[in-house]
C-alpha cells in the first residue's frame, strides 16, 4: 500500500523486528517498525478526497445524456468513487459542465460555482462547454473557462463515456498532486493568482493576457476593455 509521494515516505524493512522502539541507527536514517507507513498528511487527505468525489451535473444539453450513461451500470462511475451525484451545489465538490452555456445561463453557472464549498474542481465536458462548439452565436458563451476556472477538459461531441471516466482519473491524479491543508493550493493556482495581479495592475482598455489575444482578433469585447469592439463586424 503506497500512499502519496515516495519522497517523504522512505519505507524500509526493519532490521530488528523484535524491537518496538525507534532508534536512530545512523545519521539520516530512521528505523520504522513493521506495518507502519510514513507519509504526509496532505497526501492522505488528497487520497481521501480523490476517491470520494461528489459530482454536480450541470447538464444543459446532449452531453448530459452521456453523463447519465456513465452513471449507469455499463460504465459505472462508482468504480472510481464518484457515483454520488448531488443536485445541490452545497453538497458537491466536482462540477461537470455538460453542454452549451447560454449567456443568460452564465450568471447562474457562476453563482452555482460560488455556492460549492472548497475544495472544488470543475470538468468542462464536450466541445460546447469547452469552446462553444458549433454554436458561434451571440447567445452562447465561447467556453466556460473564460469565466470560471476549469481543471479538466473533455473533447468530443458528445464525448464517449470512457472519456469521462478518463477525465475522472485525470482529475484524481491532479487532486493527488496538488492542494494542501496549509492552503497553498493547486500548482495551477499560482499561475491564476499571477494573472489576477496582472489584471489589477492593467490599465483599462488593454487585454488581460496573451492567450486571450484572439479575442481582439475576432472583435470580441473584453471584460473591462473598450466597448466599441465588434462594431466593424457588420454582417
Amino acid at each position: 500500500m503506497a500512499i502519496g509521494s515516495t519522497r517523504e515516505t522512505g519505507v524500509s524493512t526493519p532490521r530488528a523486528p523484535t524491537s518496538a522502539t525507534l532508534t536512530a541507527r545512523a545519521p539520516g536514517t530512521v528505523e520504522v517498525p513493521e506495518n507502519t507507513i510514513l507519509t504526509t498528511l496532505d497526501s492522505v487527505v488528497n487520497w481521501c478526497r480523490k476517491y470520494s468525489l461528489w459530482p454536480m451535473p450541470f447538464a444543459t444539453a446532449c452531453c448530459g445524456i452521456e453523463l447519465m450513461a456513465v452513471g449507469a451500470s455499463r460504465f459505472d462511475i462508482a468504480r472510481f468513487g464518484a457515483e454520488v451525484m448531488r443536485f445541490s451545489p452545497r453538497q458537491c465538490d466536482l462540477m461537470i459542465v455538460a453542454g452549451r452555456v447560454a449567456m443568460k445561463m452564465m450568471p447562474v453557472l457562476q453563482r452555482i460555482w460560488l455556492q460549492m464549498p472548497e475544495p472544488k474542481w470543475c470538468i468542462s465536458m464536450g466541445a460546447c462547454a469547452s469552446t462553444g462548439g458549433v454554436f458561434d452565436t451571440y447567445a452562447v458563451v465561447q467556453g466556460i473557462d473564460r469565466f470560471i476556472p476549469v481543471d479538466v477538459y473533455i473533447p468530443g461531441c458528445p464525448p464517449r463515456p470512457e472519456q469521462i471516466l478518463r477525465a475522472i482519473m485525470e482529475m484524481q491524479a491532479k487532486i493527488q498532486r496538488g492542494g494542501s491543508l496549509a492552503g497553498t493550493g493547486l500548482p495551477e493556482q499560482a499561475e491564476r493568482e499571477k494573472m489576477l495581479v496582472e489584471k489589477q495592475t492593467m490599465p483599462p482598455g488593454f487585454a488581460l493576457a496573451g492567450e486571450r489575444g484572439d479575442e481582439d482578433r475576432f472583435g470580441y469585447r473584453l471584460p473591462g476593455g473598450p466597448g466599441e469592439l465588434g462594431a466593424g463586424e457588420s454582417m
Binding site: 460560488l114 470560471i148 493556482q189 489576477l196 469592439l229
Partner: protein
C-alpha cells in the same frame, strides 16, 4: 384582389367541375364588411396571404375572428426583409396565421411595419395566446405592440439591449456574450 380562377383551390370530392376555392366565403365576407381596399392577396401553393395596411390590421383581424370564424391564432411571427433581393415592401413584416377550427381553413395575414420605431397594435384582446408570441417578436425584432399588457423580453436577458434577429445585427453579437465577471481560483 386576385380573381378566383387563379387561386389553386382544392378539388371537390367527386373530382368533377371546377376546383372549389376554400377561401371564397371568407374573402367575400371580408370584402363586404371592410371593403375591397382593406387588403391585398397573394398565393403560394394552397396558402392564401392577405396583406393588410397597418392602420386597418385590427379591424380586419376582428372581422376574421368575429364574422369568419377564425377562432385560433396558430402562429404570430416576424421577419426582417433588410437586403432581401427584389423586395419592394417595408423592412419588417409581422404575420398572423389564423385557423378556423370548424372548416380547417387556414389564412395568413401579414402587416408591414417600417423603421424607425416599428409599432403595431396588439391582438391580445382578440386572441389571448398572442401574449407571449408578441413578446417574442418584440424581443427578437424590436417591434412594439401598443396596448400589450406585459411587453417584456421573453428569451433574451432583461439587460440585453439589441434585437438579435434583425439582419443588421452580427451573428456573433456585439460582445454581450463576453460581458461577465471572470471568476478565478483565488476569488472563488
Amino acid at each position: 384582389m386576385t380573381s378566383k380562377e387563379t387561386l389553386i383551390g382544392m378539388t371537390t370530392a367527386t373530382g368533377t367541375g371546377p376546383p372549389k376555392d376554400p377561401h371564397a366565403a371568407t374573402l367575400a365576407t371580408l370584402a363586404r364588411i371592410c371593403g375591397a381596399g382593406a387588403f391585398d392577396t397573394s398565393q403560394f401553393r394552397d396558402n392564401l396571404r392577405l396583406f393588410v395596411p397597418r392602420e386597418r390590421l385590427l379591424e380586419v383581424l376582428g372581422v376574421l375572428k368575429g364574422e369568419c370564424g377564425f377562432a385560433m391564432l396558430a402562429e404570430l411571427g416576424g421577419s426582417d426583409y433588410l437586403g432581401y433581393p427584389g423586395t419592394t415592401r417595408v423592412r419588417f413584416e409581422v404575420h398572423y396565421v389564423l385557423l378556423n377550427l370548424e372548416t380547417a381553413e387556414r389564412l395568413v395575414v401579414k402587416a408591414g411595419v417600417d423603421e424607425p420605431a416599428p409599432t403595431l397594435p396588439t391582438v391580445v384582446g382578440l386572441w389571448p395566446g398572442a401574449n407571449w408570441m408578441e413578446r417574442e417578436v418584440y424581443d427578437m425584432y424590436g417591434i412594439t405592440f401598443t396596448g400589450h399588457p406585459d411587453l417584456r423580453r421573453i428569451l433574451m436577458p432583461e439587460e440585453f439591449t439589441a434585437f438579435p434577429l434583425r439582419k443588421d445585427y452580427p451573428l456573433r453579437g456585439r460582445g454581450e456574450r463576453h460581458n461577465f465577471p471572470r471568476l478565478t481560483r483565488g476569488e472563488s
